[in-house]
Symmetry: C2
Subunit: 416 residues, 2 copies
């Protein structure tokens, strides 16, 4: 069986981690930053040094391509992203891109003749420093000019970043790919959770990526003097908001597990030691694997917020801040991952992804699935993010075997 | 009985409120701002127009003085402050200064010969835009060079402000007054609470100003991915902090009424929709009228914070942010206020002040007390702050009668 070059892959992970390295041992390569630009240039050199074809599309997505002898052959696409959150880890994203590159080199070194083009891809701004899933959305034609105006990193920061990458609104909008040209998409990624580690399983075959909804809630009461206004006469917005945080987490744990919720931002206004908060802004986000459960969660959480606002003599305002639908992975690709893992004698299981990934976009136009490998303690978006060498190797090997099966199948079953 | 000129007082309140007027109908005259400087110039003109002596001391405190024929006579001091919080009301502080000026004019108009000098004073920066109770602390020698360095408005802003007032560190430190020269201090102020209004009482005689203690609490957990980290494995700092807000308010209401607490500032770090908060900073402030109760509250609240931190698998850090001792008012001055109100046929009651005032400083060196008049709905530090005309007049009349009694008593009982 074809095997990847373990040392070559580990050297790449090590080299790339030096670009944007932080004092805490993490990596900061936010999309379109200087460090990201350096990471992109490094990737291009590695691709060209390997004798592979390098491409950059109109959305700044980078590819290494190993073409089939048949120019009309379909493409098997696989990869992930090179950008990171600020002070993140060295595996999130990078593992999938570098393993994809290593798979290509392995196929090329073996001079395998395949009935499909192989394309290892790195998507622009998966993490959303400026505009989340930028590259994968562009590829699927899921980006519009309106999205640029409401980029969460700010419109002008996005414009500067795009200029740095040498892309424009019109090149981005032209980056779409034709689904019929692509047989399948596979993304190798660290789990960023503890289910594989807890179960002692090597490989996760991802069946769905959870949907995510988010709201900015505003609990509105009356600012007052913190000394002279008796406690029983206050409309303290923080009392209501804190009751919501307490009760929302109990509600979700009791009723919606494995669904999750988070309140990651909170602000009390006007904001002084001696003023009773007249308003609290609270970010609410929740995730589940099916539309039905996500709808139930939304109803239950918003109803809870309304009831608590009334109880604490507050008014509730809410603004939707995000809405990503759950994404179902393709059963055939999931099975191919399982077959590959079985062939490699690796323990595997099916699971849901609770994090968003480029696969959620690509899966809408191309049959897709993800390979997860364990993350120690589930830590990610953190300098302490770590995946053991054996798991790195298992993941890359499973990716390679999956891609080889998809490349062959794609030929035999084209148009299925 | 000598009566104040109601229209002259109301005109002054109206004129002063135009300086720093805000679109919402409030007043912004933060200490040492341009508006404050205009307010001070206006006050000087009003004093001089009335034929009274104007003084400014080394801390920028402004006085109108009506001297006794006896140059060795003691002084009865009374007043409040002209500065406001940003977008505050027209009564907080101003009522006490303008009523004091009106009392002086009334005495002067009546050509009363008194055995004490009368001094109506406006203290610098009571509200603490730059350095709280600046003027009254300077007068009591409770300000040191260290206080300038840690001014809450910032060291350089304070230096600029002082330059605008024409004062320096050394003039401030020389602004102390000798307690033996001053018979008593009286401050008329709006209640900024609802106890008088609720009880239908005209005048409050303040027996104590509550002590205030404040802490910045830090609940420290572990930042994590809000999707992939299962809810039951999180050390979510906001869960702990919000449980503390809930339980602290119940603890204080159940056990420490009329003592009060407030959490007026909160921040979750790193602060993103999709990151479980690894740290929450929470401002805690609490107030009570006696040292003993304040100590009990402090122990109970900090113990609660520790227990909640442990329960939520968090670490607690705390930093003391302020510590103002409760201030007992002088029984003789309190009784004099009550006698004055009785003589005026006004309903009166004793109460504590839950807000800080210059009186808490002055009471440490001179027998002091405060006169409270009702504030509609207890609203203050707000453009909607309002006190009815009759209550304004009642307050000024009570102040005048109190001052007249203290001036006579001061002569008869000097050195008591």
């Amino acid at each position: 069986m074809l095997t990847i070059n373990k040392q070559r892959l580990l050297d790449d992970i090590e080299s790339l981690a030096r670009i944007g390295a932080t004092p805490e041992g993490g990596v900061s390569r936010p999309a379109m930053s200087d460090a990201d630009a350096q990471g992109r240039a490094w990737f291009r050199r590695r691709v060209e040094d390997a004798g592979l074809e390098f491409r950059q599309d109109g959305a700044g997505n980078l590819s290494a391509v190993l073409s089939s002898a048949d120019p009309m052959a379909p493409t098997v696409l696989f990869g992930s992203h090179l950008d990171t959150v600020p002070n993140g880890g060295r595996y999130d994203g990078a593992l999938g891109v570098l393993s994809a590159l290593e798979a290509l080199r392995t196929v090329r070194d073996a001079s395998l003749a395949l009935p499909a083009h192989l394309e290892a891809i790195s998507f622009t701004d998966e993490e959303g420093s400026l505009l989340g899933l930028f590259g994968s959305r562009a590829l699927c034609e899921h980006l519009s000019e309106q999205d640029f105006a409401y980029a969460r990193g700010g419109k002008s920061a996005l414009a500067e970043g795009m200029e740095r990458l040498g892309i424009t609104t019109s090149t981005v909008l032209s980056a779409r790919r034709y689904p019929t040209d692509i047989t399948a998409f596979v993304e190798l990624h660290i789990e960023q959770g503890t289910r594989l580690e807890d179960a002692g399983v090597d490989i996760g075959a991802v069946t769905a990526i959870v949907g995510i909804r988010s709201y900015m809630l505003r609990f509105i009461g009356t600012a007052a003097h913190a000394g002279t206004m008796p406690m029983d006469r206050r409309a303290d917005a923080l009392w209501g908001a804190s009751a919501f945080v307490q009760q929302a987490q109990m509600l979700v744990r009791d009723t919606f597990t494995p669904g999750v919720m988070n309140c990651g931002l909170i602000e009390a206004l006007p904001g002084a030691f001696n003023i009773v908060p007249g308003e609290v802004r609270l970010a609410l986000e929740f995730r589940h694997g099916t539309l039905e459960r996500l709808n139930h969660m939304e109803d239950a959480l918003l109803d809870l917020a309304e009831r608590i606002a009334a109880e604490f003599h507050l008014r509730l305002d809410r603004e939707m801040a995000g809405r990503d639908a759950p994404a179902l992975m393709d059963e055939r690709v999931v099975q191919t991952i399982e077959d590959a893992a079985t062939a490699l004698n690796l323990r595997h299981t099916r699971l849901m992804s609770f994090a968003g990934h480029d696969s959620q976009e690509i899966s809408m136009i191309v049959p897709s699935a993800m390979i997860f490998v364990p993350s120690v303690q589930g830590i990610s978006h953190n300098p302490r993010e770590f995946t053991h060498v054996q798991d790195v190797v298992n993941g890359a090997a499973t990716l390679l075997q999956t891609v080889l099966r998809l490349a062959s199948a794609g030929n035999g079953e084209s148009g299925d």
